[in-house]
Amino acid sequence: MKGARILKRASRRLSSSLTVDKATRAVAPIGADGLAVLPHSLPVLNGAKLPAVREGAQMIEVTVDGHAIQIESGSSILQAIESVGINVPRFCFHERLSVAGNCRMCLVEIEKSPKPVASCAMPTMPGMKIFTNSPMVKKAREGVMEFLLANHPLDCPICDQGGECDLQDQAMLFGSDRSRYYEVKRAVEDKNLGPLVKTVMTRCIHCTRCVRFSQEVAGVNMLGTVGRGNAMEIGTYVGMALNSEMSGNVVDLCPVGALTSKPNAFTARAWEYRSTSSIDVLDGCCPSIKVDNRGGEVMRVQPRTNEDVNEEWISDKTRYAVDGLKRQRLDVPLLRGADGLLAPVDWKTALQILADKLRALRGDQIGAFAGPLVEVEALVALKDLFNSLGSTATFPPTALSADLRASYTLNSTIAGIELCDALLLVGTNPRTEAPLLNTRIRKMVRHYDLPVGLVGSAVDLTYEYSHLGTTAAALSSLLTPSSPFASVLSAAKNPAIVVGTAALLREDGGAIASLVRQVAKASGAKGFSVLHAAAAAVGALDVGFVPGPSAAAPSRLKLAYLLGHDDLPAASLPEDAFVVYQGHHGGAGAQMADLVLPGAAYTEKSATYVNTEGRVQRTAKAVDPPGAAREDWKIVVGLALLAGKPLPYESLGALRERMASLAPFLAAADGEAVAPSSAEIAAAALGAPSAGQPSDAPLGVALSNFYMSDPVSKASPTMAKCVQAFGTRA
């Protein structure tokens, strides 16, 4: 009896395919036309910030699916639709690239237009009536999807993009459930794009995002299309590698699995990752990143959108150097024995030995040196410890004066580059020292013809600039109004001057700084900006991790504490000095050390960093430090206890209060804003007395090797491959 009822019900359901019961309606409701009524907004768009209306823009009214909306005239139909929160499927369109209009996935219907139109490429007209969910649109989308899939391989199970593939997602949402093609799929030869980007070109759907990215953002004309129609292929024309410091971004941009990340090939699936929002500290900009880990191992790093710093790009070092986090790690304390070899000891012994040394030595016999990746917490703790031991010999990663914040930060800010109308670079190669700043500059040069002048070695910057000279003499010539770039600078309303640390850290750095100040004054610039390549640099200056006036010279120290510092020449310390290295990688610093204390890397601790603009941000702990390694501030606090000089904090919260009492802006480490320096302070920074005559040695750049600039990237095998393939980019 019961069985018969079930049968009857099933046959009733079959007989009218248009009737859907409640359960299925919850999944995809079917409209009167027999087609699915699609969700109006996808989770990705919910809560997205809409762009602010520009001042003076003319507004027009259009109707989207019956909602009348006001939109800036000249915006595309796609923007109009997005502004009411409706999602339009797309492959080729990308907010930060030019419009190509070649994938046709974004078709919508316009009233009185006989054919659907590509919404990303079509401007809105007053009174336009747009439909995004009409039968015509659905049919068009299904058609486009069918064409795309006709040649797309069915290798999702072995594709690294699987699970985070736009084509998969949109085929599920907007595609038809069957194909009418039985022909053989086309196949395309894979290209070799170098050690970072893996290609499976058969999967390419020819959206040309990668081509546009490399031309527009990365500024290397290396990717292009060859052939047409079914024979179209993407590739470098002459079989070269994609030689750019930003090349990894094409992996994120590619909507399918044609371009995937080579170092991560076949290692993990998208749904196995646990993500942590953090920041990167391998360059001075500290871009926002997402750290994906699996089973306590950092697998990959991807950019997070942050309009103020990295838009949505990151450099290859940020993205691919993380495999260095698994190599050459220090995971137990090491002590140099009588045989001259480092041997493991336990923490108690290690700290006790060091504490005894500190007790036995006078304040003027000990000194601390901070490296490029050290966070503010450890710096403050170490500085407090050394001060309480009577030493002010605390040497920061970049030895600049910490008196005025305006004189050592990038005052123009990274996003502020978009507001300047003339730019002078002094002794820096932004392409290696701050790739993200460089892409901003390129954007301005490309779109607004920003005039850029460079004093220093003539490096390849992905955009045109006037090379004014290699020595400081070129700077003085900018003070004579007859020089062409001087007139450009003085004609500009908001000129910016960016000085690299290579210029300021030379013997004659003071003289160069005062020349720069004179140029800034002559051109009416509000101040000048310093570009740091090290993430620890500004934080160290902010908390006053600088040698005091009575600090002992390195050559007189009996004990040197290297906090992640690898570049100290052994000759600068006396032969018999006891060297302590605290850090996460076994590099040059650990090799010269008598005692090694293993610390945590930036993915293994919550740590505060101040980027070159003075933006205070915090990393998040994604995985645990390896072995017996400890968070750096804890090591210092523990040492202080054993040395009989307990620090007034034993928790991260209390330590951060101490930081905030040193520099109040360190309290809110949300990276939201940069504490601006007031006009008077900026003027004071410009008014510093001039010092001496600069030498006529040519100005260099801060990094001699872009791919291997810090302990993490030096340990990374991928970065080593990059050096082989692309050189050092110096």
């Binding site: 336990d346 923490w347 108690k348 017996a628 400890r630 804890k634 090591i635 606090v637 523990g638 206890l641 054993l642 034993e650 928790s651 919260g653 209390a654 951060r656 209060e657």
Partner: protein, 133 residues
């Protein structure tokens, strides 16, 4: 105050304060725990309202230490008395019947006491550090 609203907390406080005595130890234990938790819940609010120059974590530790001090008490009458007194203290604090200096100096004294006690004991931080906690 994250988690529980100030109103609910104040209500519970008044209700609990007016129970003069609970005769069973089980019930009393619950009242003590609830009082402890209410104190901890109030910490962010107290820090803000009385401008306490201490981290929340520290304040919580000190409050907990004050409870632990009486951990050996096993006379049910005494415990009940303490609970009511605690409730009264909490009420005074929440109603802003105290001044900034009352609260701050109580905490500071408690801190000084604790540091002195810790000095004589072995250091907790180092124990944890060596054990990798």
């Amino acid at each position: 105050m994250a988690g529980s609203s100030t109103g609910a907390l104040a209500l519970r406080n008044v209700a609990q304060k007016s129970i003069p005595f609970s005769s069973s130890m089980v019930e009393t234990k619950q009242r003590v725990l609830s009082l402890h938790r209410d104190f901890l819940r109030c910490v962010p609010w107290i820090k803000r309202s009385y401008k306490v120059p201490m981290s929340e974590e520290k304040m919580r530790t000190l409050l907990t230490a004050a409870f632990k001090e009486k951990a050996a008490e096993n006379d049910i009458h005494q415990i009940n008395r303490l609970v009511v007194k605690g409730r009264m203290e909490l009420e005074e604090t929440m109603m802003m019947w105290k001044g900034d200096s009352h609260v701050i100096s109580w905490l500071e004294e408690a801190d000084a006491k604790r540091t002195a006690a810790m000095k004589s004991k072995k250091n907790e931080f180092l124990d944890k550090f060596f054990n990798g906690l």
